[in-house]
């Protein structure tokens, strides 16, 4: 078995080091080594988005990323989304508008939605739907998710004025 690699990275703003096999995915390490189980494995093939994280600000499926690629990079996960006890407006809106049923897709959906709003604070419904097309939800039919993202965007634009 190949020797483990020593990786230094930043996760949710904090410096982090871990050991991983060359074949370990970032999702494996987050879940099994770092106890960050908010990212879920729904498919392991980049089709469902339940494992969404950001890598230097870019939305990625952590199941498609090798853990070793985290060296020197900045990673954010769902665990880094709320500011202490204060939920991110997207998290709050998802609760208020019942944009989750079982909740398994929710962490990935929220990470993906935040990545959208970070670069496009005023998305159209079509833009939201296509941006989130890589995040599967089997419970909601997406209606309340899309509404929650658009309502959050409107609220954040209002607050920014």
């Amino acid at each position: 078995m190949a020797k483990k690699l020593h990786i230094s990275t930043t996760i949710n703003g904090e410096p982090e080091e871990f050991l991983c096999a060359p074949s370990d995915t970032m999702l494996d390490v987050l879940r099994n080594e770092l106890d960050l189980t908010g990212a879920k494995e729904g498919c392991g093939s980049g089709d469902c988005g339940a494992c969404s994280i950001t890598l230097d600000g870019t939305l990625v499926c952590s199941c498609l990323m090798l853990a070793a690629e985290a060296e020197g990079k900045e990673i954010t996960t769902i665990e880094g989304m709320a500011a202490g006890e204060t939920l991110h407006p997207l998290q709050q809106k998802f609760l208020e508008e019942a944009a989750l049923q079982c909740g398994i897709c929710t962490p990935g959906m929220l990470v993906a939605a935040k990545a959208l709003l970070d670069q496009n604070p005023d998305p159209t419904e079509t833009e939201v739907r296509f941006w989130l097309a890589g995040n599967l939800c089997r419970c909601t039919g997406y209606d309340k998710i899309v509404r929650a993202v658009m309502d959050t965007a409107a609220e954040m634009r209002g607050a920014a004025k």
Binding site: S45, L87, C102, I104, V128
Partner: protein, 749 residues
């Protein structure tokens, strides 16, 4: 109490488990770990149908890091000739499904399992297990399984005195069908097929099991019923149920597919053998190959009407695929097919057909969409034939209070007619359509279910409330229960915590399934809360030294029931709780009942599609779900059920299907090629909630979750006909089929 008087029932409150779910803290089954935990992996059959001559595990056992290996020899055998039903399953089939015994019945059927220090070692060890197979011819499709020279899956299975793949039949009959057809002015008979579709929960099956040296066992798993997990695991491993504590992890979607177990007995045996906690998770590929989809079907439906639209007779014959072991949802197909209509002469007949696919599991109104599909398609064609609006045709024949259904029951008060009337006047139904656009409607029915439920309501010392129920919360039921308990106690819903108990901490509760959870759990929670309120009134009576009957509970406090009872300041829940130790001790009540009175549910859907003639894609551009829900205790989650069901129906109608290769192996075992709807495939899904309270329920609740899958398949299909003039009788209406149909003369623009 009218709904206008309610403060919490009917409010879309924030769910009690919400903050954990949006911050990634909620613990789903695969999120749990234990000290010393090792990993289990399953070796699966590479053949669709094969005899297992022998299994040699010695090389796997010798691999460093391997801690335990198991085969079907470790699982309790339930003999074929002795039925052993457990809920909707039979242990004879369960013991052969969790691990193949003498025969592998589908590609992906488990044949052995390994536990090792890492997942990689366990996977490596699986490759070292030597299985000697005698490969047999396979039957994947219904016609393959019914052919005269079909490979017979089970030598003990006979039908009409001959070896057969037909495992059983079910029939409903009313009146005289032949006489009814003789009265008809127009009769239409058509053949239909639907494909097996997967429930598509995003969370793969997973569990963590710890068996201690004294056999005391803890199971964390994702299921629709911790008591089902306990019972089946105990039976398959030969343990006492009292030695097993099954803890329901948060469940990442089920839709019926988690009313059955796969990994739990294997992990239990591996944990027992290794002396270590064992975690097992399925990959998506394993989920798609080896967990239950719902049946594929073929059917023939014949309906006769008079010129004025009166149905004189209706008949449906259905063949449903069960997978490798018996148990297709024939009851749902033959029972729900004609249920929305008042039909004087009706007959439905269904066959349960085994084939070399994974054993089916329940999927949202199991069998009902299959039964309904042909009926709603034929009605659409009949409406056109006699020149009647399709909603008017349904209204003309709609079942109502007092109607005797073809499947037997006489209906109580219900809101089916209301759903049709609301559809007729809905803006959606009157909106203009553009080129290549079409509109379809359909209705549907599901039985709904009652059954065993338990709850405990405890008042904390500081006067707040903890409710424990026994049903995994799959779509927000905790929020609905909090609303009901807060309403009855007259307190803020935030003071009510709702938890899901495990098998050791709450009384027996049947599955989360059949649209029964809010119906049944609100009955037991209501009864428990009312007992608590009686106790609180008695405590106040003691403090005031008056008769308990002279105390009433209102607005969160005990009050004298009128002037004659005396003049006392109200005693709030918090005040009474604080004095409980001096007035009588702990305040709490538990109730366990076998609930009854879950009446059937009805809904009507309107669907608009636009057909892209260049790409052969039908896109749903507007959709409205209208349904009688009895009472919407938490409207947002009621809407969520209606929207989610419609989305699954759209997927079933337009895209989802398994592709098998010539060796009987699923060719598309992943989300990329098994195409469920994504956000960009769907429009907003409008809902119209009708509330005709169920008179047999304290809050008027009816089941909600399953009905909205039923009409969707045919609503989409009927809309495509309206758009391009082609009646598709085979699902899915996927781009290759649609593109081919666009070349037909009737599809001309």
């Amino acid at each position: 109490m009218s709904s206008n008087d309610n403060k919490w029932i009917g409010e879309s409150t924030i769910r009690p488990d919400g903050a954990d779910k949006v911050t990634g803290r909620a613990a789903f089954a695969a999120d749990s770990t234990m000290p010393g935990m090792i990993w289990g992996k399953v070796l699966r059959s590479p053949h669709a149908h094969a005899k297992i001559r022998s299994i040699d595990t010695s090389k796997a056992e010798a691999l460093p890091g391997v801690k335990a290996v198991m085969t079907s020899a470790d699982i309790v055998d339930f003999p074929i000739d002795t039925p052993f039903p457990l809920g909707i399953q039979d242990m004879r089939w369960m013991c052969r499904n969790v691990m193949a015994r003498d025969k592998a019945l589908f590609h992906g059927h488990p044949v052995a399992a390994v536990a090792a220090m890492t997942e990689a070692i366990a996977a490596e060890a699986c490759k070292l297990i030597e299985v000697d197979y005698e490969v047999l011819p396979h039957a994947i499709e219904i016609d393959d399984a019914l052919a005269d020279d079909a490979p017979i899956l089970h030598e003990w299975m006979e039908f009409d005195g001959k070896p057969s793949n037909i495992a059983g039949t079910l029939e409903h009959s009313k009146g005289d069908v032949e006489a009814g057809f003789a009265e008809a002015d127009v009769i239409i008979e058509r053949d239909f097929t639907t494909r097996p579709v997967h429930q598509g929960y995003i969370e793969p099956h997973a569990c963590l099991v710890s068996v201690a040296a004294d056999n005391k066992t803890t199971i964390w798993s994702s299921s629709q019923g911790q008591f089902m997990v306990r019972a089946m695991t105990a039976l398959l491993t030969g343990m006492n149920q009292s030695d097993i504590r099954a803890i329901p992890a948060e469940i990442g979607g089920g839709f019926g597919g988690k009313t059955i177990i796969y990994l739990e007995p294997l992990a239990t045996i591996l944990s027992k053998k290794s002396g270590r906690p064992v975690k097992m998770t399925m990959t998506r590929e394993e989920v798609m190959r080896a967990s239950g989809p719902t049946s594929g079907s073929k059917s023939t439906v014949k309906i006769g009407v008079k010129k004025d639209g009166t149905i004189t007779a209706a008949q449906g014959t259905y063949w449903l695929q069960a997978g490798g072991l018996p148990g297709a949802p024939v009851r749902g197909a033959v029972g729900c097919a004609l249920a929305p209509y008042d039909i004087p002469n009706g007959h439905t007949f269904g066959y349960d057909v085994v084939c070399n696919r994974s054993k089916v599991a329940a999927y949202r109104a199991p069998g009902a969409p299959i039964g309904s599909f042909g009926v709603e398609c034929v009605l659409d064609e009949l409406a056109e034939e006699i020149g009647m609006d399709p909603l008017d045709l349904r209204l003309k024949n709609a079942a109502k209070e007092g109607t005797q259904a073809v499947h037997g029951p006489v209906y109580p008060v219900m809101g089916y007619v209301e759903s049709l009337e609301a559809a007729k006047v809905h803006d959606h139904y009157k909106a203009p359509l553009g080129p290549n656009q079409g509109r379809g409607v359909a209705s549907g029915f599901w039985f709904n279910a009652g059954g065993e439920s338990s709850a405990q309501v405890n008042i904390t010392e500081d006067g707040n409330v903890v409710v424990t129920t026994g049903h995994p919360d799959i779509g927000g039921s905790r929020a609905g229960i909090a609303n009901i308990c807060a309403e009855l106690l007259g307190i803020d819903y935030k003071r009510v915590s709702v938890l899901i108990g495990d098998t050791a901490t709450v009384g027996f509760s049947n599955l989360t399934g059949g649209s029964r959870v809010l119906f049944a759990s609100s009955m037991v929670v209501t009864e428990s809360t009312n007992k608590v309120i009686r106790t609180l009134c008695e405590l106040a009576a003691k403090i005031w030294d008056i008769d308990p009957d002279a105390v009433e509970w209102e607005d969160g406090a005990a009050r004298p029931a009128g002037a004659n009872a005396g003049q006392f300041d109200p005693l709030t829940l918090a005040e009474l709780a604080a004095r409980a130790n001096e007035t009588g001790g702990p305040i709490g009540a538990g109730v366990q009942i076998n609930t009854t009175g879950a009446e059937g549910g009805f809904g009507t859907h309107i669907c608009d599609v636009e057909v892209d003639r260049e790409l052969g894609i039908a896109r749903v551009i507007r959709y409205t779900v209208l349904q009688d829900v009895g009472r919407a205790v938490h409207p947002a989650y009621v809407e969520g059920q209606m929207q989610g069901g419609a989305a699954q129906a759209i997927g079933w109608a337009l895209n989802e299907e398994y592709l098998y290769d010539k060796d009987g192996k699923v060719d598309n075992p992943g989300f990329l090629d098994y195409r469920m709807p994504v956000a960009s495939d769907l429009p907003m899904l409008d809902t119209y909630i009708i509330e005709v309270p169920n008179p047999k329920h304290p809050q008027g609740v009816r089941g909600v979750g399953e009905v909205p899958l039923v009409p969707g398949l045919s609503a989409v299909r009927n809309a495509i006909y309206d758009a391009i003039g082609v009646r598709f009788n085979d699902l899915p209406i996927s781009p290759p089929r649609l593109a081919a149909a666009l070349d037909m003369p009737e599809a001309a623009e």
